[in-house]
Amino acid sequence: MNALRRTTLKAAGAAFLLASGLLHPLRALAATWNKAAFASKTPADALKSIGASSPLESKDILIEAPQIAENGLVVPIEITSNVPNTKSLAVIVEKNPFPLVAQFEFMEGALPFLKINVKMGESSWVRVVAEAGGKHYTAAEEIKVTIGGCGG
């Protein structure tokens, strides 16, 4: 509720600035950052805050990622949703202090596909939530973060 109000206020502010010609139009985007969701400290809260409290496990969400990441600062993840009519994908790194990492909406012919590099503080399950037809679907992969050597 609180977050919603803040968002609305921000949007109003941005619209005002925009109208007065002080700001590049892009700045209006600031209003669409879901602060409450990104501030969630547990995977459950993160799910709740994106409206996906109890998503259905799905085999149609494919997560391509290395099971061992030699460095947690860059963990590449490739996501494809084969759930029909998927309109958004969210990425949650369960053990991160703030688990929600990204949420992308797809429209106008964009495929529900995303490649992204994420930071992982430690070994963790990485959960993907897809939204399709008003329902949420999920799949997860466990990724181990190791301590590397000195080389390369």
Binding site: K144, T146, I147, G148, G149, C150
Partner: protein
């Protein structure tokens, strides 16, 4: 241009001394005292002190000199002599050499110490996991050295074993003259207490190494 024509001539004139000896990357077959002097003067010219890594480090001590000269395989007699000298330099503490394995585990995990990026007086690590397997819970271990899993379980913790473990960490060259393992006590990287803590990691029945 110059080089390609040179190569062409080499190709045509294979057999000419300069061209017929391809560069080989294998270890030199022999190292002389003069080679060592030359390399040391190159290091003196081309390296510079930084932080705690002083230029004194490019000077070779007797052991380094002999290992370089003999390409890490000194004749048995020389090896025995070098090992005896190194052994004499180990100040074995009296009494139990077993410290705290929990501290030992942290020292084993820590890869810092004695680098120019380290501060003098900061406690160093032993870099043990860089080369050895120790606690079974640590999957990220190196293999340059042997696995030390169950080290104490297999050997017990008698005073002799304690002394061996302590000495081996303090100065591994006392046991194998040209070992690749650093002389962690001799080099001043680890303190007496730190080495005792590592001995505990290896020998204490409660240490994860022996679980």
């Amino acid at each position: 241009m110059r080089r390609s024509s040179h190569l062409l001539i080499c190709g045509l004139a294979a057999g000419l001394a300069a061209c017929a000896t391809p560069l080989v990357s294998e270890r030199p077959a022999a190292v002389t005292g003069q080679d060592l002097n030359e390399i040391t003067s190159v290091l003196k010219r081309d390296f510079k002190a930084r932080g705690i890594a002083t230029m004194a480090r490019v000077e070779l001590d007797t052991l380094q000199q002999q290992c370089n000269l003999h390409r890490d395989s000194p004749p048995a007699e020389l090896a025995a002599k070098l090992e005896a000298e190194q052994m004499k330099s180990i100040p074995f503490p009296s009494g139990s050499l077993i410290g705290d394995w929990k501290r030992g585990e942290r020292i084993a995990q820590n890869g810092r110490g004695s680098m120019w990026s380290d501060q003098a007086g900061e406690p160093a690590g032993g870099s043990c996991y860089n080369c050895h397997q120790l606690s079974p819970g640590e999957a990220s271990f190196g293999t340059l050295g042997p696995s030390l899993l169950r080290f104490g379980k297999l050997r017990g913790a008698s005073p002799e074993i304690q002394k061996y473990a302590y000495g081996r960490i303090y100065n591994s060259k006392a046991y194998n003259a040209c070992s690749q393992m650093p002389r962690l006590g001799h080099a001043g990287t680890l303190s007496e207490q730190q080495i005792k803590d590592l001995v505990a990691l290896l020998l204490d029945p409660d240490s994860p190494v022996n679980k």
